[in-house]
Amino acid sequence: MRRTTIGRSVAALSALAMLAACSTDESLDEPATESAAEGADEGAEEGEGSDDGAEAGSDDEWFDQSEYDEQDEQRSATFEGDPEQPYLQYIDGEMTDTSEFASDGAKKVCFSNASIDNPWRQTGWITMNQQLQVLQDDGVISEMETRDAQADDNTQIADIDYFISEGNCDAFVISPNSTAALTPAVERACDTGLPVVVFDRGVETDCPTTFIHPIGGYAWGIDTAEFLVENLEEGDKVVALRILPGVDVLEHRWAAAERIFEENGIEAVDFFTGADPTEIKNFISDELATGEIQGVWMDAGDGAVAAIEAFEDAGQDYPVMTGEDEMSFLRKWDDTGLTGLAPVYSNFQWRTPLLAVEQIFAGEEVPTEWVLPQVPITEDERADFLEANDGMPDGHYAKFGGEDLPGYPDVWQERVIP
């Protein structure tokens, strides 16, 4: 019996080797011979090697001290522009000259969206479409063609390539699904010579005309962790509720917070919830069964209510807690009166890309890295935001920044997803 098994395994392995050969032969030899011929067409690919090498080195140590320090500073920076229009504010810095793009007439924008798979993105997507309507009425934009990658890097790369070859676009707006993976595709978009606007998550190239984003994940981590540290004592226990591993924007938030907890002697236990309130509640209940919890930290506010309710159901005191500017958290925070903070990953950034396109075609210079304000909502400001967003659904984000757009408030209240 044994022997025949081995015989079969050998057969299996040889078939396997055949397959392996199929991949190695073609992956090594063919490109090597053809690369010379195709090299010219593949201009986008050139000059990346060195960047990639550097980035590979930093992967062992996720935490990036220089980014951390930069974002720490930006938290207290002065922002240019009208505070009434935070979506147009920016930190003074390098500007991109866009005079070459100055031209009249309505333009076609091609928008490659990572996904609309969470309430934050859905809210922003509604806001963006409202902004689009305004710009269409003003004759700035003729149409916006959108491709939704459904949270798949590979699909988004194909989407961008499709736009480049088939889209007849005048400008690209890209919200990358992930940072490193989308870099080559964004570079190809830049190579068309058309303006490229990147927002939310970044890419590892400075080729885009402007890269729009709130300060960032480290700032989120610093704001929240410092708040918890201030309101807790050394040796207290914080439960950190995280959505999922391996997503850089979320890992940054935790990397900063974890470090600050460590430095200040706060005991932190982290857990992946998939943003599922059932998981959140189960986990907190179990943690409460093993001992007291003084603080709750979240890398995104979805499901904050379930976390708070777990304390209620266990008959324990409310923790010090950081959630997000999502309405469900703000409301529950208000109801319970717990000590809390609502960090903000500014949802109003979804307005900025199309406004940037307007500025670019007007030939006005735009910030090369357009850093938008990212200011947490404190207890004192909470009432104002609750009032301003009265009637909005729980999954709405308080700092969505669309109060002056035509559909306000109905389209957000009814959550009309285009």
Binding site: I116, N118, P119, Q122, I126, R242, P245, V269, D270, F271, F272, G274, A275, D276, P277, T278, I280, K281, N282, F283, S285, D286, E287, A289, T290, D302, G303, V305, A306, E309, D313, M327, S328, P393, D394, G395, H396, E414, R415, V416, I417
Partner: protein, 370 residues
């Protein structure tokens, strides 16, 4: 753990009637459907060892309450699996019901009953669609329910713009969150625990009726049932309806327990199927007890709790879970094998291939199908 104890003894009376009580119990526990109760007991001991306060009656009953939705879903999934099918749409049904509760009930108490009725009707409808597409259109249930899973969740998200309106009125949420207060010893009996008990009794009753016996028979050998004249399509469709209704009840409880969020229910189908399989029910049908499926759910929840108490690093939890599921099911497969060797000397290797056509088509389902 009253339900569990009750089953162990009941199970013992069923499979083989010869021998003393202890011997019979021992034999039962060696079948996968019985072994899961041992697994639950072992895990319970582990959890209590890791955190003694968990062993207090108040904690235990709360734990039963919180496990109720997944246990109910597992019992629903059991009906489908034992008849030889899969229901992957369960998670989407849970999400759909959670969202309907949030959006339609809102803060208006008078709407609770009509909306609950609507939820049950919609749940049953999904089951009917799944069942008819599987039986009438002859599409594998894995594919049918994968299709309903995609279509349902897409539709719900589209119609509700991300399903984020907010929690329904608190009195409705009490079903999943509240309980009978002031009970001696236990302190509180969560409503979900009561619902679970009622549904477990109903499920056992159902499996002892001709419906249940034929359902297992159809899973064991579709031809046999067909030849005997029962309408397979109607049997299986009812199984799918039961599964969707179980998902509906789980959804109602989860709205209370966790609140409204589009990710409630995500992955529920896999958890439920895993629970059923850990409960010793054979994928492919024809074998297993409904209460073992519920016990499988308890085993999984206890495992998660144990991981929490022991403080396994967050990123390694999935790995530990994966290993334990495979090991548990592998042991279960051995047990079936052992169990069947005694009855049937035919040189088959069951488990991976549950239905061996060698047995007479008229073989009644395993006695222990309740």
């Amino acid at each position: 753990m009253t339900t569990a104890d009750a089953t162990t003894t009941r199970g013992a009376t069923l499979p083989m009637s010869e021998g003393g009580t202890a011997a019979r119990l021992g034999r039962t526990l060696r079948t996968p459907g019985g072994a899961v109760f041992v697994l639950v007991a072992v895990l319970l001991v582990g959890v209590v060892a890791a955190n003694p306060s968990f062993g207090e009656p108040g904690s235990l009953i709360r734990f039963i309450g919180r496990t109720a939705p997944i246990a109910i879903a597992a019992m629903g999934q059991y009906f489908v699996i034992v008849s030889g099918e899969f229901d992957l749409s369960m998670g989407s049904v849970v999400t759909m019901q959670v969202v309907i509760a949030g959006n339609f009930i809102g803060q208006d108490e008078s709407r609770i009953l009509p909306v609950m009725l609507l939820m049950l009707v919609l749940g049953a409808l999904v089951g009917v669609v799944n069942g008819l597409a599987t039986t009438m259109l002859k599409v594998p249930s894995f594919i049918v329910t994968l299709g309903t899973m995609l279509a349902l969740s897409g539709l719900v998200l589209y119609l509700t713009g991300g399903a984020a309106t907010g929690n329904p009125v608190d009195s409705f949420r009490q079903i999943g969150r509240g309980g009978i207060e002031g009970v001696p010893v236990l302190d509180v009996i969560p409503y979900p625990a009561i619902i679970l008990l009622v549904l477990a009794v109903a499920a056992v009753w159902l499996m002892r009726r001709p419906f249940g016996r034929t359902l297992v028979a159809v899973g064991d050998n579709p031809q046999a049932v067909h030849l005997s004249g029962s309408a397979t399509w109607w049997l299986k469709t009812r199984a799918f309806v039961l599964s969707s209704l179980a998902a509906t009840v789980a959804g109602i409880i989860l709205v209370g327990y966790a609140g409204v969020h589009p990710s409630v229910g995500q992955g529920y189908e896999f958890t439920a199927i895993t629970a059923v399989v850990v409960g010793g029910v054979v994928l492919g049908g024809g074998r297993g007890w409904v209460l073992s499926a519920a016990a499988g759910a308890f085993a999984l929840e206890l495992l998660f709790t144990l991981l929490n108490f022991v403080g396994v690093a967050s990123t390694w939890r999935d790995t530990v879970q994966g290993v334990i599921i495979i090991v548990a099911v592998a042991i279960g497969a051995r047990a079936w094998q052992g169990g069947r060797r005694r009855r049937n000397t035919e040189p088959t290797t069951p488990g991976a291939e549950p239905r061996h056509t060698g047995s007479a088509p008229t073989t009644p389902p395993d006695p222990g199908t309740t």
